[in-house]
Symmetry: D2
Subunit: 437 residues, 4 copies
């Protein structure tokens, strides 16, 4: 087979002063920082769909991307060649993981059975390539949103047959993920929501989704898939409202349906901001309630109201998020999946390298900077001092539940007014962050 | 005492053709519709703070409102006169309820004890006025956000003394609400959140808030307050992020801290839209998870990013929300509280009447229109048909949990492709809604 | 040729109590209100692209619409059949106008010459259908955004050849619009902007766009096209920023390049709100600066950040906008073009009727309500009184430019403080609006 | 007089490795970079209102700031002490400029005459302090928005007396700015807009504003004020819509009223983002149309919909904006005014130093980074190549206006399809930017 990316070799680390745009300035996979290699810390993953299936059409124009390895056909052979091109890319880039939807890797057939056979035919090549390269899935998932059958939702469709189809499709996708040694499995409910409440029974639809995920847990045990399930929150787009709108909504849902033991969250930067939260907020919340799992590493445009899925290059984001990841003791089965696409204007194959290199270097800097901040203890020290009153007897008694309103009322009636507050030093801390950049 | 609103008598129902702006065109308290009087359906309430304390300063200018009954001083006497003016207004308007914060009705003293005495002195007048008029609190609450002591939060402050002060203040506010016969008690956590995550331990702060509310429940039982507690979701403003960001976040929180039995939600229209949801969405969600309680009836400006707290006059909102209220079998202890302020440009006393009359008429139309839609069964019938497959054997089996992925997989492999979907008829339903306006 | 919409006859006016969803409740083309027929007032137009070319794919799923008259091919024959289906629809609906892009009606060929021949072949059918039905273009336009050649813009491309191609394409589109008797010609610069300023010379690109439009004016005169040119403002989507971002930006641009005499604005509701303005604001601004031209009648979702292009059913919008249209003495060459699409969930052919009927009835009510408000003089009277001081000598002298700061300073130093302001009566006016709905 | 900031000396440059938060890590006033000292490049200014008048109340709470030098009274003496505290701060900080509103520096009296006398009394002290320190106004302005008399606007008020008052006030503010040697004069129309279009005659109000500014130009010449006028765009807040909504709207306005020769723009970062634009966009637009003047250096929170006026610490902003400033050949009379406030949580006097130091260091880094990027020619070179076709004969002929649609049509009909586009390299350029940080 012809090389898909001729003229590009393995991307090398050349250090921060290098002028070669096709080199890493900061990411060095084998470099040990904070007790682990950078590869172990960051667990980078390529998103099969954006990098190898998305032609970058937008609502006002057709796709522009050049993919010389792809003949544009819907054939199995083309899907297999494409898989080989993807592995060539990942190998040259030096990432250990990829993520995929079932329908990214193989074409739909006329029936579910045929579709499953198509999938098997391509999975065979994926396995060969995995064996050859050592690259494996960070997670797999099922596309339950592109086909018209899902126009009213999948697990939340008003049509039971569609629910059944989704169940069958997820079962197969889980099997395939298991077969490929995927480290986890993701649920993103792109159509699980509504266009208008005028035609929607929200309560019933949420119950159906709850039952669907319970069945998925049962099936996971049945087939022996040991990796975690992730829900990926997103508030809207394509629908008017998605039930998994943000980390808190997912947590409410998982508690309601008894699923907190089996699910974690896959936090996406762009979904966070669409929900009105910062990336860091969603990460902190997930960590606080014990649901931190994996990350879809990208970036939105804060002035555009849709999922722009840009490559993550904002160093503020990468530092703050790596601080949270480190505080959560790092990834276990999760990782940093580049759920990001090159711009429609960046349509040449080489742009795919530029984009990923930029994202990887940005996270490498984020990691090193976060480690430096932790080592110096500057933020941790400030926090310890700020909450010091909670580490006194009174703080401990409140936290342990031994104090009541009655007791606190007496205390404060006697005291009259609380001890003075200290400045929160917001600007000093913001300056401090800049000093580490 | 001099009349506060001379020249304005009791606002009368004059019917839809009346040209008198100081009359109701649609709201007639005693008119029976759908088996109850309109007063019983709508349970209108005046917000003491906006109508009698808010001078309508904004971040770029001082207040403009004319309140001839208020001498501008911080004296008990002035607070008592103001209370009488408020009851004159409510009586002339014909609303059965009001809502208040402790600090709205009485001034702070130099110590908590003095502040409590101030409060008692005004509560005495409120009771007299209640007895005279029959008007009583829909709910009471404590202002835990205006004073500088709360600058880092109240229950989530980094300062345990502030937590204690908040506890003492809430205890007193609950006692006062009980004394005044309030139907419920509200928690709005305006400062329970953060300005920056750089100085915040989110997990610890949420635990403190959880413990605070648990203590409140204990105290409620202790003093014999039988009404419900409400949390009022809001995502931001004044802080960067508030922990009670939307109905789903509140539900997650209440489940986490074992509080779902003791709390319901007080949904505010403008808070819903600041959270990126429609008013109707938050109402439907609260109803779906069994947390529907009460409503802060107002309206935001969808192009302005802050809490404009405008009076609710959008008939689409009032119809859609009353549909949800009726489906939830109406209010029990809750009601429609006008958490709304006149515009800074509408600064004369009479504007307070215009504003409330408009809001009351808008909800009266909303109620009647919703009843008509329900009577004709047009939306309900469409919904029944749309989800018909869920009322078959297969639907019931999925809902009852007797089907598994394995069984559904077999079913769909045999069938190949789901039964066809039907149009969701989004536009037809939107037209239908217009036909009822 | 087979009927495209079998079983649907001409949509009739059946009055507000009719239960038939396929009837007009308010729009009666021949009814005379305010001195003109409703058809003359409203000048409705169908958007060829949304109604006959848009399959309603979204960024997460393929199209869903059923168009049995369309064989899905790119042939001339199919384009001609589609044109006949469109005219059948418009005739049954009873609209006098349609709008089109060159590429909506006919397929691209391999060269510009071939593409132009394709266009001519379909224009022939359009002319036959126009003759048969009397329906004609409200305006024509050129699609300078869908094809990859325009990925860096058309008139603002960094590639002069693309500028030249765009010029050639617009010239042909203008000729075709002239041939079809189109009442106007529209420029929407969907790609005339930037993705990132890092690779953009904004000044140079704006100059190119200015020159392009000057050439278009020259060509218009050359070929004898007498109708007006319109610019259609939009701030973003598909690009990060479009140079024609809102009405004010267009006015700045037209003044800069000496084009105010030849251009008016085509205001779209959804583009207005994406720019952070109300629909009414953009209409009022365009009217205030003498640029009011035509309307793209649709509606966005205020909580979604992209162009949802929903059918206009909000009666507040239609009343307020028709008030502006009436104050501007109505449309001359412009009209109400439904630049709107059925929901992806409303995929059946009949939904196209529901959608347009809803939009037409909403504007018919808007028109009648606006006429009633004007007849009663309630808003006009309030305004006259509010600005009364400007109709005194002092007001007139300021307006005519005969007063200076020096004179006004003397005046106010003597007076000390201005005459008192009166309430702006915001809420009373909002109530008034509701009384007319 | 007692020191206002005891224990803080002159802030010194200590270099990037310094751990002292009260030192500059990057800003060194006298360091020459790119041919000028950093002080000459950056022309920093302190905003008197935020730093010395704003107690940081927010809509839900009273102010929190500690200002021990301020006795809280409205006396002239207090205003004079405050002025001395401000100069102590600016001197210790080492900034050469400040900006002020008339009402910031001196209290209102009962009449305009008394108010003017108050102002004169404080201006006397300002002049002494200016003489002592060499610090002078970057610009002055009049506060035409805080007082209730301006509730319906100032130049756009429906009340001619308010227009006259505003004229008198601006005349005095201009005189004072002249007396103090201010480098420019700013117009920010915080109330020049509307709350609702229902009570507004937009056309008439814009004409009044136009006339007002024409009179201001006449008066400027009369009194011999040689500095430029600036308009500061802002789209909303406090009003629903402000007429000077963004740079483009200001340009449209200035052209309409013949004012482009006398006005430039004062671009504020947070106002840009409230208008839906990036800070850089507004800067580039102002530069492109020849209106670049001065900068209000701050930062908004992209997820909060109001003017947060945070200190500018985002290095991406400072680099990109300094690139534009350098391309525009730097400031002449303008500069970088910190229109920013410390957080309500950062209420101690020392926080004022932290905040300004952070902003100054961020812009110092922005300047140095921008100079490095320019020196290497990386962005400029890319741009030159990208637009290369415009530097050919055809490009030049289009730009010079000698080509017509007819000629371009012939050219393209012959050629068939444009020369191929090249990738816009969006991601590569974003990576490049990171390499310089």
């Amino acid at each position: 087979m012809k090389e898909a990316f001729p003229g590009v070799g393995k991307i090398a680390y050349e250090g921060p002063k290098a002028k070669n745009p096709l080199s890493f300035k900061h990411y060095q996979a084998s470099e040990v920082v904070g007790g682990k290699t950078m590869a172990e810390h960051l667990r980078f993953s390529v998103a099969y769909w954006h990098s190898f299936r998305n032609m970058n059409a937008d609502p006002f124009g057709v796709g522009t991307r050049q993919m010389p390895w792809d003949d544009g056909s819907n054939s199995i052979e083309n899907a297999q060649s494409r898989a080989r091109a993807a592995f060539e890319f990942m190998e040259k880039l030096g990432v250990p993981f990829y993520c995929f939807h079932d329908r990214d890797v193989a074409p739909e057939g006329n029936t579910l059975a045929e579709t499953n056979r198509n999938l098997d035919a391509v999975v065979k090549v994926l396995k060969e390539e995995q064996q050859r390269t050592g690259i494996r899935p960070l997670w797999g998932t099922a596309n339950l949103f592109s086909h018209p059958r899902f126009l009213h939702g999948a697990a939340t469709s008003c049509n039971t047959d569609v629910f059944a189809y989704a169940a069958a499709q997820v079962a197969k996708a889980m099997e395939v993920t298991l077969e490929l040694g995927g480290a986890g499995y993701v649920f993103w409910g792109g159509r699980e929501g509504y266009k208008t409440l005028l035609n929607t029974d929200m309560r019933r639809e949420m119950d159906h989704l709850g039952r669907f995920l319970q069945m998925a847990v049962e099936y996971k045990k049945e087939i022996g898939f040991a990796g975690p399930f992730y829900i990926e929150p997103k508030p809207k787009e394509p629908t008017k409202h998605q039930y998994d709108s943000d980390a808190a909504a997912c947590y409410a849902f998982l508690q309601r349906y008894g699923l907190t033991g089996d699910f974690r969250l896959n936090i996406e930067a762009n979904h966070a901001t669409l929900a009105g939260h910062t990336f860091q907020h969603e990460m902190e919340y997930a960590t606080a309630v014990g649901l931190f799992g994996s990350i879809d590493a990208n970036r939105g445009d804060m002035l555009l109201g849709w999922d722009t899925d840009q490559f993550p290059t904002d160093l503020y984001d990468t530092v703050l998020v790596m601080l949270t990841v480190l505080r959560a003791d790092g990834f276990t089965t999760g990782g940093l999946n580049f759920d990001a696409k090159v711009s429609r204007e960046s349509f040449e194959p080489i742009d795919l390298f530029h984009a990923h290199i930029g994202g990887m270097d940005a996270f490498a800097r984020g990691l090193k900077t976060a480690l430096a901040i932790r080592e110096d203890g500057v933020l941790g020290g400030f926090l310890k001092q700020r909450y010091a009153s909670w580490d006194t007897d009174m703080g401990r008694e409140i936290e342990s539940g031994t104090l009541s309103f009655t007791r606190l009322k007496q205390y404060m009636i006697e005291k009259g007014e609380p001890a003075a507050n200290a400045s929160g030093r917001v600007e000093m801390l913001e300056n401090l962050l800049n000093e580490y950049l």
